[in-house]
Symmetry: C2
Subunit: 228 residues, 2 copies
């Protein structure tokens, strides 16, 4: 079993504030899992009872609305932690997490991580900071969802995806999402998302490589997304 001290998650998450001793304890009690593409890390209404460290892969975090439509709230890349929110409020999860590709994750049980939260103020303050940043992002997303058109939200999402996941050497945005996933990120019907993507393609602003997307005219996309 690998040591946490070497792990990519440690470098990029609040876990970097854990001491060597604390890491050894975490290493000892963690369990490692492979999650197949399409499988749940956890589901809405489930007691998670710990946090997941994502060593490899990407997952979508989503929630079902009362209308029966799915909304993707966030995409979580490897190097990050997921599940702290429910842990801290001591509630069942209000969100689901589903693997977008095959993932390698470690699960750290609640008791262990709570002990560290209580004892290590540098760690807990970093968790607090991360949560504050998430809250800021969430507020921004609320405003976008409420005030921007579907077209603007699509343009902005494409820019965000490129920023977050980068591009391959062929310029393709380096995350594979179905058209339905894209629709569920921007909060629209799948057909509408497809139609608007076709429109962007027709205007030579984007291009398809297979089903994945290349941004050809970033400036124009910014103009659509932000109005400048």
């Amino acid at each position: 079993m690998n040591k946490c001290s070497q792990c990519i998650v440690r470098q990029f998450s609040s876990l970097k504030h854990l001491t060597k001793e604390e890491l050894l304890r975490v290493s000892a009690c963690k369990t490692s899992k492979i999650i197949k593409k399409g499988d749940f890390l956890f589901e809405e209404g489930e007691h998670i009872n710990g946090v997941f460290c994502i060593k490899d892969g990407v997952c979508k975090v989503s929630k079902m609305s009362e209308n029966g439509k799915n909304q993707i709230i966030n995409l979580i890349n490897h190097g990050n932690i997921i599940g702290e929110r429910s842990l801290i409020s001591n509630e069942v999860s209000n969100l689901s997490a589903i693997a977008l590709n095959d993932m390698t994750v470690c699960f750290i049980p609640k008791d262990e991580i709570m002990k560290d939260l209580e004892m290590n103020t540098a760690f807990s303050f970093d968790v607090l900071k991360t949560m504050a940043n998430s809250l800021k992002s969430a507020d921004n997303l609320i405003v976008d969802m409420a005030q921007k058109s579907v077209k603007q939200r699509l343009a902005e999402s494409l820019l965000n995806l490129k920023e977050k996941f980068g591009t391959t050497n062929q310029g393709v945005i380096d995350i594979h999402l179905s058209r339905e996933d894209i629709a569920n990120i921007i909060g629209t019907a799948t057909e509408s998302a497809i139609r608007l993507l076709s429109e962007l393609k027709k205007k030579d602003i984007i291009e398809f490589k297979g089903k994945d997307i290349v941004i050809k005219n970033e400036q124009e996309l910014e103009k659509i997304a932000y109005g400048f």
Copy 2:
């Protein structure tokens, strides 16, 4: 000057975890202010450099979208604290706060509150919990904004307002909002909000007392908002 130990904000916020000594220090360095209806507590882009304790009154927390439209993210009632988010991430505020009626607030400067956050783990853990709850609410709002119709959002908002602010003895929801404010809460044009309110009135689901609102048929409103 009043002591913080007696204050309503202490009862209802994370400040209840401060010790007597800590409260005395806070009492000594706080400044008290009257904010008139319509005035800013703080504005987007401003360095807040502290937190506000709301002793009396209500404020709206809003953000301007790139389209130039205003979105109200939250309403903060007396007894609560506002401004921690920016303080913790050490950034200018991404939101504005505007008084909906005359307010009495206390301002606690950054250094003082940061000291308590570092030293008092019960306090900082409660702040973390509060932030986690805010994040959950924000996630729910994202889904509503993305997936529900304006009509559903209006119905849900009316129910939320009644829940949060209660009603007077005449059954009127005990918060005065302009039609524009209501539109900015649900994320629609003022005319659309007015039209849908008229429709609810025509169907005898709500009633106007002056410009304020009485919910006459809560069940029907729930059916619109949640589909049951």
